[in-house]
């Protein structure tokens, strides 16, 4: 380990699973495992991005048309909320590194609240789409009939991509609640805070997905007509 000056808490050894030699090997394995998992997540969204790219390329005009129905203000607000939550998550990991329980708890709670704010705003947006009959399927309506089918596909992709993203947010919120409960019970120390770090990685990844979704779904095509 590079910096052995950090204190290794007593129960760091109790958290060591039987099949690992030492906690360093265990941490490295967890970190690598998490990154490999994020790799699969990239490819998971990658399939959607592939479909999106193809249809944007096939139907640029319909695409420009649908982007007028995206609420850029809400989208941008949500981007800011999510970036802010990434900051608080990073600070939560930092607090855990320093063994500051109270700071850890408050940053985790803050991150959770921001995540819930994001989901609430997302709900408002979905509700708008519902009111406008922009949900793909039998009830779909579109103001410009020449783009009916193409717009439906693009809204389908919008819901598939943001829905999958929202699902990841919900899972992330559940994980944060677990973390908060664990932190409240003094399970973490400067010597062992692997779950905080792992879920932090997950949270940042979900943030990155949104960083790409926002321009692709809301911004590109606003000026095309």
């Amino acid at each position: 380990m590079a910096d052995t000056d950090l204190s290794v808490a007593s129960h760091a050894s109790t958290a060591l699973k039987h099949h690992f030699d030492d906690s360093e090997q265990q941490l490295e394995s967890s970190t690598l495992g998490m990154w490999v998992f994020l790799l699969t997540e990239i490819m998971f969204f990658g399939g959607m991005f592939g479909a999106y790219t193809v249809y944007r390329n096939l139907y640029p005009a319909a695409f420009a048309s649908t982007s007028h129905y995206m609420n850029v203000t809400l989208g941008a607000t949500n981007t800011a909320v999510l970036i802010f939550s990434s900051l608080t998550m990073a600070l939560a990991v930092r607090s855990a590194q320093l063994g500051q329980k109270r700071a850890l708890l408050s940053f985790l709670t803050f991150t959770l609240i921001l995540g819930l704010v994001f989901l609430s705003i997302k709900y408002v947006e979905y509700h708008e789409k519902w009111v406008d009959h922009h949900i793909p399927g039998p009830g779909f309506h579109y103001a410009e009939p020449q783009y009916f089918h193409q717009a439906q596909i693009l809204f389908f992709l919008y819901f598939a991509m943001t829905g999958l993203h929202a699902l990841h947010m919900i899972v992330g919120a559940g994980l944060l609640i677990t973390l908060i409960a664990m932190a409240a019970r003094n399970r973490f120390s400067a010597g062992w805070y692997t779950p905080v770090e792992m879920i932090g990685l997950y949270w940042h990844f979900v943030d990155i997905v949104w960083i790409f979704l926002f321009p692709l779904l809301y911004l590109i095509g606003r000026t095309m007509r």
Partner: protein, 100 residues
Amino acid sequence: MTHQVVPVRTYVAVFAALIALTIATVLISGIDLGEYNFIIALTIAVTKGSLVVWFFMHVNQSSSLTRLFVGAGFFWMLILLMFVLSDYLSRGWLPGPRWW
């Protein structure tokens, strides 16, 4: 632990940059620059994503193995996008000259 403690101001600076880039991308998207809208929006998104990966996800402190896997993720997604697009973009091409 393997990671050094990063000062708060680094995180805040990254956060400020991310917010600034978000504002920039929204503002630029309102101006008609033709195909450049797309290019600029994606460039900004890649920059923002890299900032998060590099600082928030501590890849700047990670082993080269982690970096390899991060790189592999984006490389494979590019394979998927490029090869799928190679079909769609070249479908309308006229049959080439008979070079044989």
